[in-house]
Amino acid sequence: MKAFAALLDRLAYTPSRNDKLRLLADYFEVTPDPDRGFALAALTDGLFFRLPFRRILTDLLGPRVDPVLFDLSRDYVGDTAETIALLWPGGRAGAKPPRLSAIVEALQSAPPAEVPALLANWLDQLDATGRWALLKLMTGALRVGVSARLAKTALSEWSGVPLADIEEVWHGLRPPYGELFAWLSAKGPRPEVEGRATFRPLMLSHQIDDKELPSIEPKDFIAEWKWDGIRVQAVHQGGERRLFSRTGDDISGAFPDVVESLPEGVVLDGELLVMRDGEVAPFNALQQRLNRKTVSGALLKSHPAHIRLYDILLEGGEDLRALPLVARRARLEAWHKRNAPRRTDLSGLIDFTSVKELEILWADARETGIEGLMLKRRDSPYIAGRPKGHWYKWKRAPLVIDAVLMYAQRGSGKRSSYYSDYTFGAWRDGDAGEEELVPVGKSYFGFTDEELKELDRWVRNHTVDSFGPVRQVEPNLVFEVAFDSVHRSTRHKSGVAMRFPRINRIRWDKPAAEADRVETLAAMIVD
């Protein structure tokens, strides 16, 4: 547990992706089985204990900690679990801390009534970092900035086995991943997962550039709308139904409605959307259903999910990935006609005779949920990764506004000596009739390193107030901010929130008074 706690502690403070990979690889290298396997499970959200955790903690704390001291501490620390970890009167001298595997195995098998006593005993044996890690582990949310994808990437870098190969077996394996580690350390064969509901790495597209556009000919390419949802892979194999995100995260728990009617023996590629009365709802609606482990009946009803299918990778146990796209498309159409699973439809093909015509069609497309066009080569096999010359995306030009820099915050990691996170605002009429700025968004990218240096200098020279790592600046610098769309928001004072804002240009030249108004943004809302 000590090594696992030290790893989590270090990861939580380490902003750089490469440094995280290094820390993870070092841990996998020196930690024995099955501890490293359980650590991997915890990092990839593969451990989930059903415990009345808050009640257990309250019961344990009662006789041990003075409530006044606890409240003062909690106010200072800001987080309940961390407070408990820090003030637990433990650290028994000479105690040998338990192994991670011993903890996980005990939690998986102990009767619920015995858990409080087990927990108290472990807390007594661990130091503060160990206690913090244990409590995080038990809540099931580590929040140390490591995605399942990053953990798998670390496995790949550590072992030299390509990430795609790990992805292919991943969902057929279970903690503590003994077979996997044996294979990755060249001490065992590749784990056998055929026939199990595993993830197949996706084929991805390139952004098309203007020079390539003329080469798109209808005889070589098909065109489809690019829907504004999230890319998913739906699988029903070996009696298991699963939905994977584009990075191979299992999101089945949040979307039981779209996989329940899939027949056995199929792997499908498509776009996950929320659809109401046959219409695609804005991305915002889909967002309500993402990042959950489970979903309520009410949400299933108010935000029904749907998959718009565009490819088939496997049918009835037959791997179709080597077939050309048009052949797979024919199989997909026939399969869909036969089975017609609920909450799915096919992404339609767009007839076109020239790129010009496509452009006109696109300009006229008023339907919501269309983000752009996909152009796919008719004879492309399904190739994992982002192969050149096969699939292209052609996105709409982003929306832009001119906004005024209001606050700058220190970045993290390499950027911690720079004011690199910017909050910008738009004008509106204040209560007293004068013009006021209200924040409309925040962004920390889109500019070059050179520009960052200039911005940092500007912030330092134009600060009017500072609170901790945040500086308020004179409202005199205009950013051209690009974003994908804008939505209503009750959480923002301005009432609007941008999706994916980035600093497009720094308008050193533009007077702040000429920046845009909140009304301009509000008019861009699509509902």
Binding site: P15, D66, L72, S73, V77, L86, L87, G91, G468
Partner: protein, 337 residues
Amino acid sequence: MIPERFDTWLTVDRKGLFCRPGGFHIDPYGGAQRAVVTHGHSDHARPGHARVLATRETLAVMTARLGTPAEVSSQAAAYGERITIGEVAVTLIPAGHVLGSAQVLIEWKGARVVVSGDYKRSADPTCPGFELVPCHLFITEATFALPVFQHGDAGEETAKLLKSRMQFPDRAHVVGVYGLGKCQRLIVLLRDAGYDRPIYLHGALAACCALYESFGVRLGDLKPATGAKREELKGEIVLAPPSAIADRWSRRLPDPVTAFASGWMRVRARARQQGVELPLVISDHADWRELTETIAETGAEEVWVTHGREDALLHHIQMTGRKGRALALVGREDEDQ
């Protein structure tokens, strides 16, 4: 028998804590006629007093830091030496905080009062260890007076720094340290852990290190970080004042891992707020356990709490049946040293 209530002869005025029968202030703010100074940190040792009593080491720190002018009459007291000032006897006792740090024992008409100054009870090879003095009134610091502060083993934190250095050999490790005390303690901790490479110093730290060495604390090979080539600093440990670690100064270092050695690093929000990547919980102050145990061991029936988080400690003092009082002293908010 204690002759009078303490607050009739130990009072708080604009300059701070004043001992009436001795006619002196302790760690006063602004120019005092007569000052007893516990240690050299800037929130305790201030300029402008006419007469100063302190340990020889603290006087040296004050001269180095403040450039004490010649007209100030300073008097050095050895630890344990009983000195009469006015009607009272004053004895300086090791506090274990930094080089020269002292508690102040004041005796008057049979009453014994100890002013702790800043102190710690965990081991520190750079200064004499804290000595417990039984007393009637204990005036304690309270910098880390919350039960969440339990400083662990400083050696383990040092090991964390050395491990990180092995894991990231292409990066410099810049560690924020306070110039007086923490800096030299960390250097000695590193040396005791077998680290014998040169340690690079921000210019602001050099004077205090030289002073420690002049008092016989061996620090090994120290080099200025300013002027060192970027390439040369890869894999090296660089010490700098906390204000420099996440600011423009640190840009000269190769992809630095930002560390900070402080008791505050135990709380994640504090570490994150300062952009720290490698927090090292090394403190020169007493933690909650030391504060509460020391109060009990002094046998004091009355305890006054100076700067820090008084609420929690006062609650504890009252719950354990003692008389407690918060002293509101100016200029001691959220001290960081």
